[in-house]
């Protein structure tokens, strides 16, 4: 069936190596790195403070309390004052650093959220439809959250740790280059192994994210499909599906945790081996006369300075994996091409009525059947055209190509003489409005929903529009008139009422080309006829294309386009087509028998 589109053009996951991912991620949120220099300086002060405070305490004890010839109270007092100052400086520096990090990261990530959000809306309808809502939502919410956790703590710790590692190496080398080499020899295999662990962790976290998406999808069925679940009393079945998804997610998270636990502990064992090796080799070196006792004892202390950042580093690795997985998914959205894109320096349509021309247009869904074949048709400005055909005949595809929700696979659609792909979106969407069959409503008041495409319209304008379309009585019958809350997805209103809202919306937008895609399919006949007449009045002087399954619409049109199996089978005024006795005549006969 032509309307069934195969899964395709999915939103991807970016596949670069970790470093490139982070670099690109940071480039997308420039706020994170702005002023990082000062933040790093504060971080160094705060970290140094952690070392200085114990040293001050040590000095107070060694040279004050344990001073040769009894405790030197004066020295103790002055050292304590120095220590208090050191603590105060450390606290202030650490606070400033934390605050700056929070501010920079949250600002940067808010920007990233908005960028990704915008890009989701820029994706083609086709791509949007192949991705689950939950997964798209996750990319601007939880995926970004994992990044923030890393940036606010792990990222900086990683930078500081590497700095501390290098510093410790230099000081150690001053004391004994042989032992320094030894320590590095112990840790080098670990560093190499970490790359391997990182790959494993990366895969594990990717699996966790995927299972999370599936879990959210399953839970959303209980929420979005609440009505269907109750109608069929399939609470048990739905629950089983949710339980399975929750369990799959839990298993993958546990698997990742197992890897984390082993990775994290490997640093401890290596530290033990390094300590032991330093003792053994240090003693042997000492016996050979290559190192003094004092230097060896000092070196043992320095090794702990070297080990601490390694341990922090393995800890951070875990968070980094999470963050990179999150970044990859957000970048994946941004990297998915918006194949139906706003052209740079797009044409602005000249004011006045607009004509439409399809020039040998074909369309096929990616990896799917051809749904529109070589269609050439000209729709004169100001004419009212009805498009009819069976489900899957290509009529909805025709509407989507005409409004540039999709681009043709072959041929050209021209609007006012311009290739549709060269027209700027701002101009296009202002002049061409499509009302889809399912008029989506936002969880807000009726007035806010009517105002969707024309935010400037005041209540008087809204009332005027409702009156023009003969819907004032309907709006007044609602609980709070214009201020009635329409509920989630407009579910407090019936399907027919939602279509009324969508129509008023389009009417208010005042387009030059109005495309109605079965926009009144759920509205009662009397209201539909009234609407059609009102719309005929207001669309006079404009171009209108109506996709209809009720042939009453076709009867009233200037011209009827009949689609059959992806080709434009017939065209002409209603009466002429009925006389011709072709596809349309058959459809009309069926319609008359069903409505008459």
């Amino acid at each position: 069936m032509a309307d069934a589109t195969a899964v395709s053009s999915r939103v991807g996951i970016q596949q670069d190596n970790a470093l490139r991912t982070v670099r690109r991620g940071l480039a997308l949120s420039p706020e994170i790195t702005q002023g990082l220099g000062w933040t790093l300086t504060l971080a160094i002060v705060a970290t140094a403070g952690r070392v200085i405070v114990p040293i001050t305490v040590q000095q107070t004890i060694d040279r004050g309390l344990n001073a040769p010839g009894g405790a030197d109270i004066g020295f103790v007092r002055s050292m304590l004052v120095a220590a208090v100052i050191a603590i105060a400086v450390t606290v202030v520096a650490a606070y400033q650093m934390n605050y700056r990090l929070f501010r920079a990261s949250e600002t940067g990530l808010a920007t990233l959220r908005s960028k990704a959000f915008r890009h989701v809306h820029d994706l083609s309808v086709l791509t949007q439809n192949t991705e689950s809502r939950g997964s798209l939502v996750a990319r601007v919410t939880t995926d970004v959250d994992t990044i923030s956790r890393f940036v606010q703590w792990g990222g900086l710790m990683m930078v500081i740790s590497i700095g501390q590692l290098l510093l410790a190496t230099v000081i150690m080398a001053v004391y004994s280059w042989q032992l320094t080499l030894l320590v590095w020899a112990c840790f080098l295999p670990l560093f190499l192994a970490l790359r391997f662990f990182q790959k494993l962790l990366s895969g594990a976290y990717l699996a966790v994210r995927e299972r999370l998406g599936a879990m959210l999808g399953a839970i959303s069925e209980a929420v979005v499909g609440a009505q269907a679940v109750r109608a069929y009393s399939i609470e048990g079945r739905t629950q089983r599906r949710i339980d399975d998804a929750i369990e799959a997610h839990r298993m993958s998270a546990t698997r990742a945790q197992k890897l984390v636990a082993f990775t994290f502990s490997s640093g401890e064992i290596v530290a033990g081996i390094a300590n032991a090796a330093v003792v053994v080799v240090g003693v042997l070196l000492g016996i050979a006369g290559d190192i003094t006792l004092g230097r060896l004892v000092a070196f043992l202390f320095l090794v702990t300075l070297f080990i601490a950042p390694v341990q922090v580093g393995t800890e951070v690795l875990n968070e980094a994996q999470n963050a990179i997985a999150g970044w990859r998914r957000v970048l994946g959205v941004l990297d998915t091409p918006a194949d139906v894109a706003d052209p740079p320096d797009g044409v602005v349509l000249a004011p006045g009525p607009i004509g439409i021309r399809f020039d040998r247009v074909s369309y096929a869904y990616p990896d799917g059947p051809t749904v529109l074949k070589d269609v050439s048709v000209e729709i004169a400005p100001k004419s009212r055209v009805a498009v009819v055909g069976e489900t899957g005949s290509g009529k909805t595809t025709f509407a989507k190509l005409l409004t540039r929700l999709m681009d043709p696979a072959g041929g050209t659609v021209l609007l006012g003489g311009h290739d549709l792909r060269t027209i700027g979106f701002e101009s296009l969407r202002e002049r061409v409005i499509m009302v889809p069959q399912e008029g989506f409503l936002f969880d807000d008041t009726l007035a806010a929903n009517l105002r969707f495409a024309s935010p400037g319209a005041d209540d008087a304008t809204l009332r005027g529009a409702l009156r023009e379309l003969g819907l004032a009585g309907w709006a007044d019958s609602l609980a709070n008139g214009l201020e009635t809350q329409v509920g989630q997805r407009g579910e407090s209103l019936s399907a027919g009422e939602r279509q009324l809202v969508a129509l008023v919306r389009a009417y208010l937008a005042d387009p030059d080309v109005l495309v109605l895609d079965e926009a009144t399919s759920a509205v009662d006949p009397a209201t539909e006829v009234r609407l059609a007449r009102a719309l005929a009045g207001v669309t006079r002087g404009r171009t209108s294309v109506t996709i209809a399954h009720r042939l009453s619409t076709a009867e009233a049109a200037d011209e009827v386009l009949v689609f059959d199996n992806g080709v434009l089978a017939e065209r002409g005024p209603h009466r002429e087509l009925v006389r011709r006795g072709g596809v349309y005549a058959g459809m009309h006969a069926a319609w008359v028998s069903s409505s008459g």
């Binding site: 103790v76 949250e106 009393s233 998270a253 033990g272």
Partner: protein
């Protein structure tokens, strides 16, 4: 925040921890043991290196020689301590994670169970994005403190060790050092008090961000076709920026808490040194004792920091847990009775008595609706858009209970029936079909034990067999959000098959073929008539063909039944019905009589 509120926050936080420990005693217990081993080994490692220095390294340097035995022993001791320490880490990390994920899974199951139980009216009041955020992020945040919890509890061993040693060394100095603990409590009190309202706000905004994204992506087609991408991005950016500001405010408090928490043990040491030094000067204390107490106090810094991790996460956890609790404690599920409808048998007898319903107070959607449908009859419900037909349809199969009156099937009040008893006898097909992310077979059969032949015959009857056979995999093809997408008309036909495969004794069609071509609809209706289903049918429709299928027509306006009778009777008796049903013909007639002027116009 009132003072009582702050204490409540902390108490609630501890209650979450208590709940976690009760729910996961084994995993979290093991993690705590692992952490205790780690804590002990941390102290032990320092001791081992100290002894190795004293007994192996120093003698070797003094004597200029050593034995390989001594070196082996020293290495073994150091590596051994490290291995135990590492084992402690593995056990703590693994089991803490295991416990945390099991808790997450447990409460996610509970929350989603609740979603399935709560009535539709509750669902209408709660945004989808918010509910998903509760099942996902709120549950996760609630048990976020569980990850560092075993660490904090395990290293209490270190704290105990240090405290006992301190008191043995010098009770007075130990007592001075103990000022660290009230200081920590006060700091935490201030922290919880300042952070709690900010964290509440941040969590609420997190939900808002998710809700806006969900709604906006849901309405992507409308957003795109009306060119509102920029306005929607602005709307999203507004909540994203509110969240940002809120998180930065949280960050300001957290950013101050952590360094101050770190500083407290250090200040304690300084106080001990100051007091100690004075007493040493007075001659009432040995310098060595001061040094020892000061050293022991440095050991407490470690567990205190770990406890800080847990306490720091508590306010956010409490806020999230409140949202989880709000779902867990939400009431209003439909109550079920003990009665059962006979399975099988003939078509149901439907009786609607004085039914009234309103979504909003004082604005009734249905008022005093009375309707009897005899077994096997087909009744068409006709009325203008927004007249209450869909609400009536959902009352008939007890999607909602009427505010007044009752609906009876075979004389039994629906409210007296067992769960699933209504669904076993009656099926409602909506205008907007919900498709599960599943195979065609499972979308039709759901939990019914239906053979493939049953599924195919239902699909064929719904005129869906053709396009399903064309799908790659046919009955096994996955459809829905993550699979093949179907058109509106195809979805409706699939939903119809879902109802038909159950051979319902009462079939309610709520404009269920509105997106289907007239020709296809005609075949469906013909099939329904010829299939001789054992069904009583209530059909909400506008189309003449659908109405002509009915034995009787009910005309509804403004939530009331205004007329009932055969189609011909109503044409004469009900002006509203006549106007509605003849709209197309009158329109065509008007057009016939008009000269063709439109084209020339403008």
């Amino acid at each position: 925040m009132t003072k009582r509120g702050d204490q409540a926050t902390l108490r609630e936080g501890f209650r979450i921890i208590g709940r976690a420990l009760r729910n996961e005693p084994l995993t979290l217990g093991l993690a705590i043991v692992g952490s205790a081993v780690y804590g002990l080994m941390t102290v032990a490692t320092a001791a081992v290196i100290g002894r190795v220095t004293d007994e192996v390294v120093v003698p070797a340097f003094e004597e200029g020689r050593t034995t390989s035995g001594a070196l082996w022993l020293a290495s073994l001791a150091i590596v051994g301590a490290a291995v135990f320490k590492a084992a402690g880490i593995v056990v703590r990390r693994y089991f803490a994670g295991l416990g945390q994920y099991r808790l997450n899974a447990r409460y996610r199951r509970e929350v989603s169970r609740k979603y399935l139980q709560l009535p539709l009216s509750w669902h209408h009041r709660h945004p989808t994005g918010r509910l998903l955020s509760t099942a996902n992020a709120d549950v996760e945040m609630s048990f976020w403190p569980i990850a560092p919890l075993p660490f904090a509890l395990g290293v209490l061993v270190m704290l105990a060790f240090a405290l006992v040693s301190m008191f043995i060394a010098d009770p007075i100095l130990a007592a001075v050092g103990m000022i660290v603990f009230p200081a920590i409590l006060i700091l935490n009190y201030i922290y919880q008090r300042r952070l709690s309202p900010l964290a509440t706000r941040a969590q609420a905004l997190r939900g808002d961000v998710s809700a806006v994204a969900h709604e906006s992506f849901d309405g992507a087609l409308v957003v795109k076709s009306m060119g509102r991408e920029s306005a929607e991005t602005e709307r999203f950016t507004r909540v994203a920026n509110d969240l940002r500001d809120s998180l930065v405010r949280v960050g300001r408090i957290r950013g101050a808490f952590d360094p101050v928490m770190d500083a407290i043990p250090n200040i304690g040491i300084l106080v001990v040194l100051a007091v100690g030094a004075t007493r040493v000067a007075e001659g009432s204390l040995a310098a060595g004792t001061v040094v020892q107490v000061a050293y022991l106090l440095t050991i407490t810094a470690f567990p205190v920091r770990a406890i800080g991790f847990v306490l720091g996460e508590l306010p956010s956890a409490v806020v999230s847990w409140r949202r989880v609790q709000a779902v867990r404690s939400a009431t209003g599920s439909l109550d079920y009775g003990p009665d059962e409808l006979p399975s099988g048998g003939g078509p149901a007898e439907l009786s609607v008595r004085g039914v009234g319903y309103s979504y909003v107070d004082d604005t009734p959607v249905l008022e005093d609706v009375n309707l009897d449908v005899a077994s096997g009859r087909t009744v068409a419900v006709v009325g203008p858009t927004g007249s209450g037909k869909s609400t009536l349809a959902s009352v008939l199969i007890r999607l909602v209970d009427p505010d007044t009156g009752a609906v009876l099937i075979d004389g039994v009040d629906l409210r007296g029936l067992q769960h699933a008893s209504v669904a076993g006898s009656a099926a409602l097909v909506f205008q907007q079909a919900f498709i599960f992310n599943d195979t065609v077979r499972d979308n039709v059969a759901l939990d019914l034990d239906a053979t493939d032949a049953d599924v195919w015959s239902a699909l064929d009857l719904a005129q869906a067999g053709g396009f399903i056979r064309d799908l790659d995999g046919a009955l096994d093809a996955v459809i829905g959000e993550r699979g093949t997408t179907l058109s509106g008309g195809q979805r409706q036909r699939l939903a119809l098959a879902r109802a038909l495969v159950r051979r319902p004794r009462l079939l309610v069609l709520d404009d269920a073929t509105s997106a289907v071509d007239p020709e296809v609809e005609r075949r469906i209706l013909a099939g329904l008539r010829d299939a001789a289903l054992p069904s009583t049918v209530v059909v909400v429709a506008y189309r003449r063909a659908t109405i002509s299928l009915a034995d009787e027509v009910v005309y509804v306006e403004n939530g009331r039944i205004l007329a009932r009778g055969t189609h011909e009777e109503l044409l004469g008796a009900s002006p509203g019905y006549a106007e509605l049903i003849t709209a197309y013909e009158r329109d065509a007639a008007v057009r016939e009589s008009e000269p063709v002027t439109e084209v020339a116009d403008g």
